[in-house]
Symmetry: C2
Subunit: 558 residues, 2 copies
């Protein structure tokens, strides 16, 4: 049908504004098809994400449907599997109906942004909460609420302290905005929990440099520091996060902050699809010409965080911000139309309008067109400017209503858990940490992937008895999972250790139906329980269901 | 501290209103502790759930935080593991910090409701979407949006037809309200999808009886039928759902409706915790005295859907509705206070005030205090009454705002996907259905749990070549998962078959780290590819990554 196809990869600011600019420049021309590929069907308005943590903006009000933003484009809500620059095709993963899809292109706009990764830091992939996407903000919110819920009924002082300690790592814009909203939220919500006293709450911001918000002039950054401190945030400057376990944040200097909530705004890493492209890159970003085209692949363009763009006027590389991505997208769109229809191309240049950071509760810092603002005025500017920039009239209205209601109503406490089929998860432990304790109720089976675990029994003994040591490839915890009863021993990390944990449902689905695995588990249980299959020690509360295996794995009666 | 403890199990209408009534009657009395145990920290206002499907009410606005509703109670946001009536204790599952928790009680109120289960219907547990909880409404909404997104870019007419067919099974209140909202939503949303024509959309309601809404007088039910038909809903009366696959709803008479969206409002089943109680039951519900106490266990009370309550005046069993649960809860609270402080108990009796069913888009049917209403007036009554009944002033305000904005703004299209760690899922296939096709991109490994699968190759052949047959315990699909490449053959069900599917990430976590499983997969691949390890046939699009295994399972080179 269409003579030419332009494919845009990525549903962030770069991709969406490229599609919008192309629509304006191409009009109704049926000879050119514009296809936009995005894994989500909405654009996230990043500046408002921190307010999702505190609940002052409704979850879906920070996002706009791509179909409304880009009505001219054909929208593919799919994951990109592969980009083939030689054959000029992209492969899209299967949706829920049918096979994967190949799309050929005449022009390709790569706007795939960056991804977050915790790789290389022990325990962070397993236990730190990233903060970049909409889903992350929701997860953090739910996690914080669960922390408060648990603390309200926790009797152990150490565990209670960890539950009421909230740590955010990274003092850039997103870390500061996140810690400000998180602090506001827990302190406003706490009075609803009768047993929690305000002074028990600890909110900590870790920052590697000497002053937070290095992107801003120091006077504004110091204003922000004073304000956060006054509101009860503990600033730990020149402090780096080294790693994490389920129970603590581990600092570079060896200090251990017991916490159940660790948020980390990690530096971005290249999207694996971009990393796989056979073109020149600088710090993982695609090097483009001043026209934003790949020198080696004419017809392929890159914009936004995944592109290494040198400003034509200043000669400086462009920072990865939304304001830049939007202007880059428009420039690329102009140049694509020039390439299709003939005409001169233009080189990219843009001077940022300003920088703003919200500090929660009617305060902010901002530098707009060279003017420095702080406090209420900056907050008012922040809200006004971002509300204007939020795409779509309906979203503007919804956010304005949200903000109004938030002034009137108490903070919302519901913990919206969409039932997840968890199945399995990864965990990290530092030496001496306990994985589970004798007598606990057991729902997870563990496989050691790295490090060493020891199994000990203490019930009714003056000294604990070492039962066995486990190494990578060994599994443990199967007895309680199969019997649906309490743990018969305690498991503890001897060294730093990584585990894969499998829940009862996944166990049921896999271990019980795959014969080699079933045989393996049966042998293991027989060996560990030994003839004549004793009743688990310390089986407090072993009701009628506790000895009959709850899954169809037959424990040999020996 | 407190001399007596009353434990309430369940955060639905029964549990919450019991806690509220106890708070009112007990006042500040420090001698009595009220503990409320609920797996979620909110109460769902069920009547408004269908509007979450269409998005006319915000997701969290239909739910109210328990902590605000029941400020006097100690709230345990935990799953109940076990109820021990003999020892008067309940065991609560571990939260994210620490061990499970035992709570002793003097009085116990069981208000655990019912659960949905599709057990016994082939394919329904795997492929039908239940509609009972808040999470269900969200899942349905996202699924419907994804169906529209997929259809908009689908080229195959059969798959397109299935994507645009939406089937709801069950013509009671919840099925009718769900189909009405779903129909409104897809028809209002469709114009945003340029390639979807309104006449392509098919919305079907299956109902076993001769007339829908059997709870209402026939004249109102017939009004509802006419209205739904006029709005484009296809009513299939005296039709039962027999089963489902990923691609079709299977009817009792052997008909097959190709669809990708099947919603089923199944009859409720007893909560397993209730089923395990050693007390007398009637149709799975706990039999109680006229005072709502268990005759065999004084001090234990049951209210709501899990209780079999005979009305003291009429002698009829009470229906499982919210209005009844609320009155039962108050009666039980009165009687518990009478038991604690002395005084007469009262027997339970209540005459329902009325019944209402929303039909979407400003229409409803209602019978209130004997008066029958239909159309706009009923809709207005519906909204007014439920807004009044919605607990909490803040929720009332939020829902009123939602309804106002919904009149002004176009329907929302964002598909809010909270990243789930899927890991594995179960699937059901009918004879002849294809699991995957040669050349598809492969992300899942399958284990047969029931039935027979055949693997065939057709690439470049006039006739397909049968490769092998698989039976329970066999697995297939591992080659494409390990190589991250296209499927080398087609898999098809020979008989009705049940499978467990494992995604690449779960495969990575489990199969690659557990030695016995790793050995098993390595052997399997070596055997199936055979020496000298041929390159997969028909490997269209086999890029550079296709032959190098993407996971650390070493494929033997022999």
């Amino acid at each position: 049908m269409a003579a030419k196809r332009i494919v845009i990869l990525g549903g962030g600011f770069g991709g969406v504004y490229a599609a919008r600019a192309l629509a304006r420049r191409l009009g109704d021309d049926p000879a050119v098809e514009v296809a936009l590929v995005s894994k989500d069907n909405y654009l996230v308005f990043q500046p408002m994400l921190p307010e999702v943590i505190s609940g002052s903006i409704g979850i879906v009000d920070t996002i706009s449907p791509l179909r409304r933003l880009c009505p001219r484009a054909t929208l593919y809500t799919r994951v990109v599997e592969r980009i083939d620059l030689e054959r000029k095709r992209v492969l899209l993963a299967a949706g829920f109906a049918g096979p994967s899809l190949e799309l050929g292109y005449d022009h390709l706009v790569v706007a795939l942004g960056s991804v977050t990764t915790f790789a290389g830091s022990p325990g962070l992939p397993e236990h730190a909460l990233p903060f970049k996407y909409l889903g992350d903000a929701l997860v953090i919110r739910n996690h914080v609420i669960q922390g408060l819920e648990e603390a309200a009924v926790e009797r152990d002082p150490g565990r209670r302290r960890a539950l009421l300690t909230f740590v955010v790592a990274g003092g850039g814009f997103s870390g500061v905005e996140a810690v400000a909203e998180l602090n506001d939220f827990v302190r406003r919500a706490a009075p609803s929990f009768r047993t929690i006293r305000p002074e028990e709450i600890r909110v900590v911001l870790l920052h590697a440099g000497p002053v937070i918000l290095p992107e801003l002039p120091e006077s504004l950054a110091r204003f922000a520091q004073r304000l956060l401190r006054r509101r009860g945030v503990e600033l730990r400057l020149q402090t780096r996060l080294h790693g994490a376990t389920a129970e603590a944040a581990l600092l570079d200097d060896g200090e251990r902050i017991p916490t159940r909530t660790l948020v980390s705004t990690v530096p971005a890493s290249p999207n694996p699809l971009v990393a796989a492209l056979p073109c020149r890159k600088e710090r993982g970003r695609i090097v483009v010409s001043p026209h934003l085209e790949l020198p080696e692949f004419p017809g392929v363009w890159a914009v936004g965080d995944c592109a290494w763009i040198v400003d034509a006027r200043t000669g400086q590389p462009c920072p990865p911000t939304a304001q830049h991505a939007i202007r880059e997208a428009r420039c690329a769109a102009d140049n694509i139309v020039a390439a299709l229809r003939g005409g001169p191309m233009r080189a990219f240049s843009f001077r940022a309008l300003g920088k703003m950071g919200s500090l929660g509760h009617r305060s902010a810092v901002a530098e707009v067109l060279g003017v420095r603002l702080s406090g209420f005025l900056a907050w008012w500017a922040w809200r006004t400017i971002y509300l204007m920039k939020l795409p779509g009239l309906d979203r503007k209205l919804r956010v304005a209503v949200d903000w109004t209601l938030d002034l009137l109503l108490p903070p919302d406490l519901v913990q919206l858990r969409v039932d997840r089929g968890v199945g399995f998860r990864r965990e990290h432990y530092e030496p001496g940490e306990v994985i589970f304790r004798e007598g606990d109720h057991g729902d997870w089976l563990y496989v050691v992937t790295e490090g060493e675990i020891e199994i000990v029994q203490e019930a009714g003994r003056a000294e604990e008895r070492a039962l066995r040591r486990l190494r990578p490839g060994d599994c443990f915890g199967e007895i309680a999972v199969v019997r649906h009863g309490p743990r018969t021993a305690t498991a503890r990390a001897r060294t730093a250790a990584n585990l894969v944990a499998v829940d009862r449902d996944a166990f049921h689905a896999l271990f019980a139906t795959l014969p080699p695995l079933r045989g393996f588990i049966e042998d293991l249980i027989a060996r560990r329980l030994g003839p004549p299959a004793p009743v688990p020690a310390g089986a407090a509360g072993a009701g009628p269901g506790a000895t009959a295996p709850a899954i169809p794995v037959e424990v040999p009666s020996a």
